[in-house]
């Protein structure tokens, strides 16, 4: 019972084992708004002082983003162009105040359909590393996110890192966000695209869409159809058939029909952007 700020991951896991109702908190940017005026949980485990959960590192297999890495660290860290979508998304997460404390991993654990961080991570084919009492397991972000506010995280486990595999040489990346105002806005829809080319033609593409289905989705049909197109192809690239995997809803931010239409336009813009920066 109480507030713990351990500095070792093993301590986080022991505490979680001892206090099954404990809540893990990092940036607090989802925790406190959900709490509102309610009574806080009896036990909070603050993971921001755990050294193993910090830092962005690069090795032969790719990149590792620790679970306590904040959005502002992503913005400030030197990363290749294939991360441009993630960096653009990072700047669109709330405000500077939110980016200074909110974490990439927290964005995943919160599992909002409108999480800005998810499409760029899908376009990077990122994996999450989950650490629990019995060890560590890894799975693709797509598998980790199971539904609205639902993840594959098991009791006693925490998301300890995000792994991004080595990316194709020269991959370009772009992120497009649609909202009703300039800043501090929950996305109506958003799209990330990572594209790489050879000999003036697209040789690989990953396009992911958020806020148009319970969990953000890659668009494999569209990705396949992009292969072989010349890098200066004007588009449009996105056809309704590419979007059948999505299930946009109507809410205060827009109608379902509008979302579907906007997604197609945003996909085309993100694809053009990724080709331009590739």
């Amino acid at each position: 019972m109480g507030y713990a700020a351990p500095d070792a991951l093993s301590d986080v896991l022991s505490l979680l084992a001892q206090h099954p109702s404990a809540r893990v908190v990092a940036g607090g940017t989802d925790f406190f708004p959900a709490l509102g005026d309610g009574v806080p949980p009896e036990t909070l485990i603050d993971v921001t002082r755990v050294a193993e959960l910090g830092g962005i590192t690069h090795g032969p297999e790719g990149w590792r983003i620790g679970a306590a890495v904040r959005w502002s660290e992503v913005i400030g860290h030197p990363l290749p162009p294939c991360f441009d979508a993630l960096k653009t998304a990072a700047r669109a997460v709330g405000s500077v105040q939110i980016q200074n404390v909110g974490t990439v991993a927290g964005n995943l654990c919160n599992a909002s359909p409108a999480a800005d961080g998810v499409p760029p991570l899908l376009a990077l084919e990122a994996e999450v590393e989950l650490t629990g009492p019995t060890g560590t397991r890894r799975m693709p972000v797509q598998e980790f996110l199971q539904g609205v506010r639902k993840t594959a995280l098991r009791r006693g486990e925490i998301l300890s890192a995000i792994h991004i595999p080595a990316q194709p040489d020269g991959a370009g990346s772009a992120f497009e966000k649609l909202g009703s105002r300039k800043y501090l806005v929950i996305s109506i829809v958003m799209v990330a695209a990572n594209i790489w080319c050879a000999g003036g033609r697209i040789t690989g593409a990953r396009v992911a869409v958020g806020a148009a289905s319970p969990v953000a989705q890659r668009l494999p049909g569209l990705e396949g159809d992009l292969i072989g197109l010349p890098v200066d192809a004007p588009g449009p690239f996105t056809r309704p058939a590419h979007l059948t995997i999505l299930s946009p809803i109507a809410d205060v931010r827009g109608s379902a029909a509008y979302r579907a239409e906007a997604v197609a336009e945003l996909c085309d813009r993100a694809i053009r952007g990724a080709m331009r920066h590739g």
Binding site: M1, G2, Y3, A4, A5, P6, D7, A8, D11, S14, L15, H19, A22, V25, G27, G28, T29, F31, F32, P33, L35, G36, D37, G38, V39, P40, P41, E42, T43, L44, I45, D46, T48, S72, R91, G94, S95, V96, Q97, I98, N100, V101, L178, S180, R181, K182, Y183, L184, V185, I186, I188, V252, R253, G254, S255, Y258, E261, A262, E265, L266
Partner: protein
């Protein structure tokens, strides 16, 4: 390893000083800073990271203190405005924020300045884009952000003069706003005050029964007492219009809108009481939330004595509208709708109360101290002399803080417990339970002759007035008087009705229904101009009301009608910007730009009702000049305007004035801050009061009228004559000179056809908006505004610009993004107001067509500033794209549908 402990000690560095506190588990840093460490310069607006008012630096980085557990700040350096104001950047910003009047109400100012310090440390000469990125996390509802940008970028100072009427001086009360010293509703409670929390219904309509409150209170640690309707000793009803006092303090047996209070719980200061356990049972009942549902046969009546749920109506008829429309060469008509708009001031309602002897004192944010006093006295069943209202600084009002909110709960709780009590609404409570702008449902038909002359207008408006009347009758009255716009329309018929629904009460919001009616009228004017092949600005100028022409109420002004001058002022920008848009559009495919224009007017003060303001002043024996200023300054600047007018009339420098009040014990009634009346009405009283004091001084010194006064070294001098103040007798209030004067604008009642003289003056406005529309997405990016305002005489041009820019920001929000949906947008991330990135440059053109009644010719301005904004934007969208929008807000989804021609 760290063992989690209960309420453990946390040590951190606050503004350079090492401090140790014992916060609760997971306590918000904002709460610890404010309540345990006294740092009330940290403001709380939403507790969700949406508004940024609580921004502090943690190890140099801006964060929302409401989103950080205090324990996370252990060992770290926390800086608030008070710790930063002595830094190089802080000192510079304090000066620049005052020079540019970048603080209006001041509630967002600490968050803005803290964010700006962090920016200036990293980028001493930031670009506009850098300023926007850095400050985007802090919402401001008053300023429209442009003056904040100017201040942070160190734009050339706009100040001029020394404080005479017409001089652009700093606000006389600005220093407190930029130093973190300003005390708002939640900043004034003494340590140890008990906490009042409200139990609210979660349903639009519900019957409810209360359980055994005494047993629950006894069994629940921290609960001191409870309040229900049974605890109201006087009238369990309030309302701003005597004939419509229909809103209970606590609902009795049935609650009529989501968020209505049914009971209150009084707790000890640090108690964690789970209100979900409060013994109340709600039974949802069938509800009606739209005017059509409420008026349908068999609909439940919100108030048994109001058939068809019609609260009341307003009507104006002149000439024969039907005949004029029949002979018109062109007739256009349309059905226009708008939704609830939330005031979204950054300061939620808050205050504290205590009993002193047989009196109760309420310290809370308000726009109307004397109305609060009278209403609370009725609720208590007390004489009003036993109720003292001491307004705190007001963190934005815009109309909603005219009504009671926390005041009756505070008074009842203080009296029941005999102890100081405090109450601060959460953002959700503020949004659920306080008034909104009326949703509108308007059918409008307007005709014109081939030469462009208007020929007949019919207006039928239904306004969703929610569960209780509030200012709904005023909206129903004002709209027919104003729906013509500032134009000559000889044949006119307008009717408006307020319809009750199971929604939050609609009340006063900057413009009282006129911004809604202006959308319909000004958009249809564009259609008329187009049908006639006339330039849209020329069409308006052709029909603009002139001196000597009757309004639709038959009121004839021989002077002061300034709408024509506003259109003339816009002409150069209109021609230039249309040309620029044409050039832009020729070079761009996916995005198109357009220019729109709209006019507006607004009658200053109450409609055909007495409306007096009184201003008192005195000079003490030791030579201090005291101005008893009861006109609530809610950020608009009445403290400065009234002081400038008084100083001018008296003939002493404004800098010598000490402001007193507002406080119902020491300031005479200067009326409510509403209806754009303070500069006009209280300003006129201040002028009379200044002139009366001057006359008394001149008489005492036997000096000529032209004599120059000085007040220094315990002497008053007039020309070469002098008097030692200490030699003069003191009056009963301790003054050697005193004046107290009242002004009430001359109006005449409206007859059954709405004919009469509703206002002593109107103010006039015309806006021009440039937008860029993304055709594929339906998004609108405003590019520029040019706003011409006839203010008669600008008392302080910088305050005029501040009102214009802030009003445009609110009009823009209403046009493009704001819609309050009960139960769905009860926070500041689902309910969107403009951010710093949404407001383009705004050119303010001050037009001065003096008014015979206004002090030095001045007219009101507060509401005029947003009336033309929304229609100007919608007309610009049409000009850019050909899409007509008749429902606001024009969200991207709605505009995209209109672009495709989908209904």
């Amino acid at each position: 390893m760290d063992k989690p402990t209960g309420d453990m000690q946390t040590a951190l560095t606050l503004n350079g000083t090492r401090v140790t506190v014992t916060p609760k588990v997971g306590e918000r840093l904002s709460h610890t800073l404010r309540e345990r460490l006294g740092a009330r310069d940290v403001k709380v607006g939403c507790n969700a990271g949406d508004c940024g008012a609580c921004t502090v630096l943690v190890d140099g980085a801006p964060v929302c203190a409401c989103l950080m557990p205090t324990q996370q700040a252990a060992g770290r350096m926390v800086e608030t405005l008070k710790g930063l104001r002595d830094s190089v950047e802080g000192r510079a910003l304090m000066q620049r924020f005052q020079d540019h009047q970048a603080a209006q109400c001041g509630i967002c100012t600490p968050g803005m300045m803290v964010s700006a310090v962090a920016l200036l440390r990293a980028a001493p000469r930031p670009s506009e884009a850098q300023v926007m990125d850095a400050l985007a996390g802090v919402l401001c509802r008053c300023t429209g952000y442009r003056k904040i940008i100017d201040a942070v970028m160190d734009a050339p100072t706009p100040l001029s003069g020394t404080g005479a009427v017409g001089d652009a001086i700093r606000r006389v009360d600005g220093a407190a706003k930029v130093s973190g010293n300003e005390a708002f509703g939640d900043d004034v409670a003494p340590d140890g005050a008990l906490i009042v929390r409200i139990i609210r219904t979660p349903h639009p309509r519900a019957a409810f029964t209360l359980g055994d409150l005494a047993a629950w209170a006894a069994a629940t640690p921290g609960v001191v007492s409870t309040l229900t309707a049974a605890d109201v000793p006087g009238l369990n009803a309030f309302g701003v219009i005597p004939a419509f006092m229909d809103q209970p303090v606590f609902a009795q047996s049935e609650a009529r809108f989501r968020g209505e209070a049914v009971a209150a719980v009084i707790t000890t200061p640090d108690a964690d009481v789970d209100l979900a356990q409060f013994p109340v049972t709600f039974t949802p009942l069938p509800d009606v939330q739209t005017v059509s549902a409420a008026m349908a046969d068999g609909a439940p009546l919100i108030h048994a004595d109001r058939a068809q749920n019609i609260m009341t109506g307003g009507f104006v008829q002149r000439g024969d509208a039907a005949a004029a429309l029949a002979r018109a060469d062109v007739v256009v008509e349309g059905h226009f709708t708008s939704g609830f708009v939330e005031h979204a001031y950054i300061e939620p309602e808050a205050g504290f109360a205590r009993t002193i002897g047989d009196r109760v004192e309420i310290h809370a944010c308000t726009q109307a101290p004397v109305m609060d006093q009278e209403a609370v006295a009725l609720i208590l069943g007390w004489d009003k002399s036993r109720v003292r209202i001491v307004p705190t600084a007001v963190g934005g009002g815009f109309g909603s803080k005219l009504d009671l909110s926390v005041q009756p709960f505070l008074a009842l709780a203080a009296i029941k417990t005999g102890k100081p009590v405090r109450l601060t609404y959460s953002r959700g409570e503020s949004m659920q339970s306080t008034t909104k702008r009326h949703p509108s449902d308007l059918h409008v038909k307007i005709g014109a002759l081939k030469d462009g002359t208007l020929s007949g207008m019919q207006f039928d408006g239904l306004f969703n007035t929610g569960a209780y009347a509030s200012w709904g009758p005023t909206v129903a009255n004002r709209v027919p008087v104003h729906a013509s716009g500032p134009y000559r329309i000889a044949d006119y018929r307008a009717e408006a009705k307020g319809i009750h629904t199971h929604c939050p009460p609609s009340g006063a919001f900057r413009g009282f229904g006129v911004p809604q009616s202006a959308i319909a009228q000004e958009c249809l004017f564009d259609e008329l101009a187009q049908a006639l092949g006339m330039d849209a600005l020329e069409f308006r100028a052709h029909n603009a009301l002139k001196n000597g022409q009757p309004t639709v109420c038959g009121q004839v002004f021989d002077q002061g009608v300034g709408i024509g001058a506003c259109f003339t002022a816009l002409r150069p920008a209109w021609d230039r910007l249309r040309g620029e848009c044409a050039t832009f559009n020729a070079a761009h495919d996916g995005v198109k730009r357009g220019v729109g224009v709209a006019g507006g007017w607004y009658g200053c003060g109450n409609t055909s009702l007495p409306n007096p303001s009184t201003i008192k002043a005195g000079i003490t024996a030791d030579g201090r000049l005291m101005l008893h200023q009861g006109a609530m300054d809610i950020g608009q600047g009445s403290n400065t305007v009234i002081a400038q007018i008084f100083a001018q009339a008296l003939g002493l420098p404004v800098g010598q004035i000490t402001l007193i009040g507002a406080d119902t014990d020491v300031t005479p009634d200067a009326g409510k801050t509403s209806a754009s009346r303070q500069t006009f009405v209280t300003g006129a009283a201040a002028k009379l009061s200044g002139a009366a004091m001057r006359a008394e001084i001149l008489q005492r010194l036997n000096a000529p009228e032209t004599a120059r006064l000085t007040l220094a070294n315990g002497e008053i001098t007039a020309g070469d004559r002098a008097l030692r103040l200490a030699d003069l007798p003191l009056n009963g209030e301790g003054y050697v000179f005193q004046s107290e004067e009242t002004y009430d604008p001359p109006t005449k009642p409206l007859d059954e056809n709405g004919q009469g003289a509703p206002y002593a003056q109107f103010g006039y406005a015309a806006h021009l908006a440039v937008v860029e529309v993304d055709l594929a997405l339906g998004t609108v990016k405003p590019i520029r505004f040019v706003a011409a305002h006839d203010v008669g005489q600008a008392i302080n041009p910088l305050l005029v610009e501040g009102q214009v820019q802030g009003g445009i920001a609110q009009g823009l929000g209403m046009a493009l993004m704001e819609e309050y949906l009960p139960g769905r947008t009860e926070n500041l991330h689902d309910y969107l107001i403009p951010t710093i990135g949404d407001i383009p440059p705004i050119d303010t053109l001050i037009v001065e067509e003096p008014d015979a009644h206004g002090p030095y010719g001045a007219k009101g301005l507060g509401e005029h500033v947003l009336i033309p904004t929304a229609p100007a934007l919608l007309n610009a969208i049409y000009n850019a794209t050909g899409a007509r929008i008749r429902r606001v807000p024009a969200t991207p989804a709605r505009l995209r549908a209109a672009l495709k021609g989908t209904p």
